[in-house]
Amino acid sequence: MWTILGLVVGGFVLSGVFRSSVESDFDARLKFDLDGMIAAAEPGPAGQVSLQGRFTDPRFERVYSGWYWQIAPEGKSANLPQISRSLWDHTIKVTDMVTRGGVQWSHGAGPEAQHLRIVSRHVEFPISDTPSPTDMQGYRFLVAGDSTQVEDEVANFNATLLWSFVVLGIGLIGGIFIQVRVGLLPLRRLRTALARIRDGHARKLDGRFPREIAPLASELNGLIEHNAEVVARARTHVSNLAHFLKTPLSVITTEASAQPGPLADSVVKQVGTMRRQVDHYLARARAAGAVNALGNRTEVSPVIEDLARVLGRIHVERGITIALEHPNGLCFRGERQDLEEMVGNLMDNACKWAASRVAVSARGISGTLLEIVVGDDGPGLSLEELSHIGERGERLDESVPGTGLGLAIVRDIARLYGGSLSLGRSSMGGFEARLALPAII
């Protein structure tokens, strides 16, 4: 856009400069001819003027050639104007003169509707045959040229200028287009590589980048690696913390159980509370570090299959049938451990409460969301119970083992990922949990 504008402005300026140059050249020629004509003028005894043979230019001899001269007496003289042969029987009338450089410049009409540029000068000659030596006869010497020549030259120049600028413009735009395409190619590759990381297809920026972008790619790779290291380190610390907290808690519980009494009861109860809190915050801490990490992608099918296999063995004595329905290729935009934590808790809950059947289904519900539904054929929950369940530490039945935090943890992790958990009644008559999570389709 700016290139085209620059070329147009440049074209106008060049054309203007050329016109000015051609006009001044034309004017110089006119002035030169006028000076030559005045120099060749010889006054006669009666005040007439005659041009000596020195001023003979073929341009002024050819009729209507576009080059004319005229010597017109001024004042009361009865002499007729002398004209060049090229004027034939025309005379040139001079009006609206502008004085510049000691001569008068003007425009006028010539024969055959020619548009003339005229330069003239007033010259006085003495009249030798009068008694008074101071009597003078004035003449206006003028030379005129057809300014169409100037216009033709300018038009020719403008035509050449136009097509050469058009060619230049096309070349420049093509060059800029190629430069932008080629120049931005590495950036486009960078964008594609980043998209691959965001979609979980790659763990770092792959490919060779030019010198200007290589440091950026290297820094990004460093950042991604650092991020992954921080998450891994945080997970290790959390895991170690879990180990170092839970083993002493086990010792306290076992010791207290071995010595029944009010103190032991209180210790066991408090340890239970501590365990619930530790489980909750450790699960949150594990999830929080990974939520915004680049490049996380977890296929849903293997996770559900692994969990179903494990839960089938944990609840082997209850003979629970776990029906799975999940399309291959459905991917969660997040860490595998977090998906396992959420779906594992939901499926474990369902297995604990189910009479004989648990159904798990997963599907993509939009371009960016997937839904995992876990239902059972157990007793289900009333509307009032549904409104309370999932709150931290809320347990509806102490007879089934669990921390009472399963659903709260699921809800917390889902929210960290921008997803949601909704609870309701299953078509099999029992409890149903619907988990909506960000997806990579």
């Binding site: 879990a242 907290l245 839970k246 086990s250 010792v251 159980s257 066991v268 944990i314 934590e341």
Partner: protein
Amino acid sequence: MRILLVEDDSDLQRLLKKALSDAGYVVDTASDGEEGHFLGDTEPYDVVILDLGLPKMDGVRVLEKWRQENRTMPVLILTARDRWSDKVAGFDAGADDYLAKPFHTEELLARVRALLRRAAGLATSEIDVGPLKIDTRASRVIVDGNPVKLTSLEYRLLSYLAHHKGKVVSRTELVEHLYDQDFDRDSNTIEVFVGRLRKKLGINVIQTVRGLGYCLDDPNAQNEDRAKA
């Protein structure tokens, strides 16, 4: 019943050993993965309780090696690692059950009983052998509706035979499963205990299979089998 407890925390190991011993099990202990693997590989255990975070060799690796070596005893994983990925890894390595720390001792004992029962192919915690009823949950023995008081070793002997109901159990096998590894193993003492047990029960449920060992079975069923023959 003989249990191997692999736990690196000495306090927890001591307390669990006591709780399991009090429940009538013979308990061997190991404090690291290598020792645990060696014991599980060389001694016959009815159940193994295995921690995952062990020094020298990780619990999952220990379990994998046992399964590769065709050691099929039931294994209960006991660990502070309670993520589902850990559970999946544990079960895939060959675990039979999984208990997360911290836990109630009663829950651990219930899980151990369930594993023993499943390994014996029994559906409930009560084992009926004709007029004899053994409640493994309460460690009680009832004959014709009357409770019978047994010593710890007598109960362990009867319980082991009951978990292998109808099968011949050698005296060596009984010694291996009723005493820990440090015991001076003299299989003649088994004969003494079997004699005492028969006297206390007052019914003929423990048969001596000459040259092979003992078999616990319903006397009426045995008679019916003989009649058919």
